[in-house]
């Protein structure tokens, strides 16, 4: 389970869907692994508008990462600057016109969102307290029948 995915996920219990406490789920007993993957500024630029920043800051803290309190404003990289890379989706690594400060933020985001994974652990709903297990990086969001 990546922090990226955690930013898209709430408690699956229907009764929790109206509660702001059901998002984000809180990590508990998390065992982390880090795996370097190629830096992808276009992806990060596309991700940024889709992230709930406050939730990401909360989740990151739970796993020991510190992110700025406000969402960084970054120039939107356009896919057209990467249009030449059509054949196999391999990315061209010079992120275009990104400033030094922005670059630093993007590298940090890359590390937090794409390179860090919870291998074993739990995610807990702040509203109903239900615990979702994470095993071999795969989160389990199935509910027992009394909750569906």
């Amino acid at each position: 389970m990546k922090l990226l995915t955690a930013n898209f996920i709430s408690c699956a219990v229907k009764a929790c869907k109206s509660s702001p406490l059901s998002f984000p789920l809180h990590f508990r007993d998390a065992e982390l692994a880090s795996k370097p993957v190629p830096y992808n500024p276009l992806l990060l630029s596309n991700l940024l508008p889709r992230l709930d920043w406050a939730a990401l800051v909360t989740s990151s803290k739970e796993l020991g990462f510190t992110l700025p309190e406000t969402k960084p404003e970054l120039p939107r990289l356009s896919a057209s600057s990467f249009a030449a890379t059509t054949g196999d989706g391999d990315m061209n690594m010079d992120g275009g016109a990104v400033g030094e400060e922005d670059e630093k933020t993007l590298r940090m985001l890359h590390k937090v969102l794409m390179e860090t994974e919870v291998v074993e652990g739990k995610m807990v709903c702040g509203s109903c307290g239900f615990e979702y297990g994470i095993h071999q990086t795969v989160g389990n969001f199935l509910l027992p029948s009394h909750l569906v």
Partner: protein, 556 residues
């Protein structure tokens, strides 16, 4: 709502009638349906000479407005109903203006107008069902006509290729010639005066003569199809079902190659981890093309299984997420045999988003308590650029979702020896049968809420052939149907439906969840409800599958 015209197999068009499909009118100039009859070609050649003087461009065969040039696409003669939708999808993805001038599902050669060689290269680069794209130098029904056409259209270009290395290729569809005959035909083009070295490997330029042979009669169509499929069959001296001479000949210069070769790379036989229902590499990659996945985008498969679509989407650059109600499919049962191991095998781990265990009817995806960013009417669940799925047909074990079989069961945790059973590590949540139609509805609703504006949904659906007339395409007010492709099997078929999420929500009302009756809400004690809740009753396709797709006896 039915869409017969798209789903029905096209009737054979006699190529001599040169049926033209104008797919997309070019902005300002509304072309007349220019039929490439001989007369028409003579007329256009006079205007084309004038155009040729303006630069090193080709004079068009048909009446094309100036920036458009004519190309020939060589398709693979497979999955015919997918070929044009794939091409159209890629043109839209790369924002390329095009016009299909000639296309038939019965032939591998199609003529298309594009603005430039770079547009042609880009358009074809990701295609799985195209083989390559060529500049069309000349065409005709006889070699004399081809030579006349090539001379009038391209003589001003010959000097460009005078000294480079080159090679001539030969492609015949449904016909054949001896090597000696090929050589003679190639030499008949010697007037182009290329003096450079002939190189069989990696030539600077590749010129190809292509021949299309017409079937002698439509009655032989079945046989012609059979001959076509079995490439290893003995090759007779001549193809008995086809005429001795081609009915259409093209002379072309190679411009760009497709991605068709990657089918081999992703071949299931060489994949580390697969399951019984893994979608083959070719159709997975085509689906990824239909879904417009690409670098920097996010894709999701809610029935990910062993990850065929996930791998295909990742190949084209998308970061891919997937879930399945069965965690064993994702994790695998043996060490080093898991969905993740496939990403490692193909060295695409940087595009592995996450895989998790969940059920679409109780999906955790979405930020239910959170407000949309910026408050500009955005939806906080807008996450994915593409949703791709091949939902379970329910044939193997019936379609299931979370919940108890008995809806009257009290909603309390099961406690044995003081331990709430769902907190145990080995707890397997109970599942209940579900109707296929209801699941479809869930997928459509989920896609409407979770796709970004202009995001795409690709979904595979099975049908028994006898049901063809009843097959209705699922609709949703926020999803626009883009295309329907059909893959036929013996007695059943499956369809790939592609939708685009409208930028803003549409007003038209949708059917509410509960209008679909499947009796799963009724108490178990009624005999009717019991019967209605069996996997067969909920899933007509499954029932017909096991009945062997027998046609019910007719009234007489």
């Amino acid at each position: 709502m039915f869409y017969f015209s798209r789903a029905l197999p096209r009737r054979y068009q006699s190529p001599s009638a040169s049926f033209l499909y104008i797919v997309k009118p070019i902005q300002e100039i509304n072309l007349p349906l220019s039929v490439t009859s001989k007369r028409n070609r003579t007329i256009s050649s006079s205007t084309s000479i004038k155009m040729a003087a303006t630069g090193d461009s080709l004079a068009p065969v048909s009446n094309l407005p100036p920036p458009m040039r004519e190309y020939l696409i060589h398709f693979a003669q497979v999955h015919e109903t997918f070929r044009k939708p794939e091409l159209e999808s890629l043109a839209k993805l790369f924002n390329i203006d095009y016009e299909i001038l000639q296309y038939s599902e019965k032939a591998p050669f199609a003529r298309i107008a594009l603005k430039s060689n770079s547009a042609a290269k880009t358009l074809i680069s990701r295609s799985i069902l195209c083989k390559a794209i060529y500049e069309l130098w000349g065409t005709g029904t006889t070699y004399d006509e081809v030579h006349t056409s090539v001379k009038s259209r391209t003589s001003h270009l010959w000097h460009l290729y005078k000294t480079c290395s080159f090679k001539f290729g030969f492609e015949s569809f449904n016909g054949m010639r001896s090597e000696a005959a090929k050589k003679d035909l190639i030499e008949s083009f010697s007037y182009v005066g290329f003096d450079g070295p002939i190189r069989m490997k990696n030539p600077d330029e590749l010129f190809v003569i292509m021949e299309d042979y017409e079937a002698t009669s439509m009655v032989d169509l079945e046989r012609f199809k059979a001959l076509n499929i079995d490439e290893k069959a003995e090759t007779p001296a001549r193809n008995p079902t086809h005429l001795d001479e081609p009915h259409q000949i093209y002379f072309t210069r190679f411009v760009g190659k497709s991605s068709r070769a990657i089918i081999e790379t992703y071949d299931l036989k060489k994949r580390n981890y697969i399951g019984t229902t893994s979608m083959d590499a070719e159709l997975s990659l085509v689906t990824a093309n239909m879904a417009h996945v690409g670098p920097g985008k996010l894709a999701y498969d809610p029935f990910v299984g062993t990850g065929s679509f996930a791998v295909a989407c990742a190949h084209f650059g998308a970061v891919t997420f997937g879930s399945d109600i069965d965690g064993r499919m994702i994790r695998g049962t043996k060490p080093k045999k898991s969905l993740r191991s496939n990403f490692e095998q193909y060295k695409i781990m940087d595009r592995y988003g996450d895989m998790f265990v969940s059920d679409l009817t109780n999906s955790p995806l979405g930020r239910f308590g959170a407000d949309a960013e910026g408050g500009k009417g955005g939806r906080s669940e807008q996450i994915f650029d593409a949703i791709i799925c091949d939902p379970p047909y329910g044939v193997r074990e019936g379609l299931k979702v979370l919940g108890s079989r008995d809806p009257s069961r009290p909603k309390v945790p099961t406690i044995i020896d003081g331990v709430a059973q769902h907190t145990r590590k080995d707890f397997v949540p109970p599942k209940r049968p579900y109707s296929f139609d209801k699941m479809l509805n869930d997928i459509m609703n989920f896609s409407s809420t979770h796709l970004v504006a202009n995001g795409r949904l690709c979904i595979w659906l099975p049908t028994a052939d006898e049901d063809f007339n009843e097959f209705s395409i699922p609709t949703h007010r926020n999803l626009k149907l883009e295309s329907v492709c059909v893959q036929n099997f013996n007695k059943w078929s499956r369809r790939l439906l592609t939708y685009t999420r409208y930028e803003v929500d549409q007003d038209e009302l949708v059917a509410e969840d509960n209008t679909l009756s499947d009796a799963t809400g009724e108490p178990l004690d009624s005999a009717h409800a019991k019967l209605a809740r069996t996997a067969d009753a909920l899933n007509p396709f499954r029932r017909k599958y096991f009945e062997g797709f027998k046609t019910p006896p007719s009234e007489d």
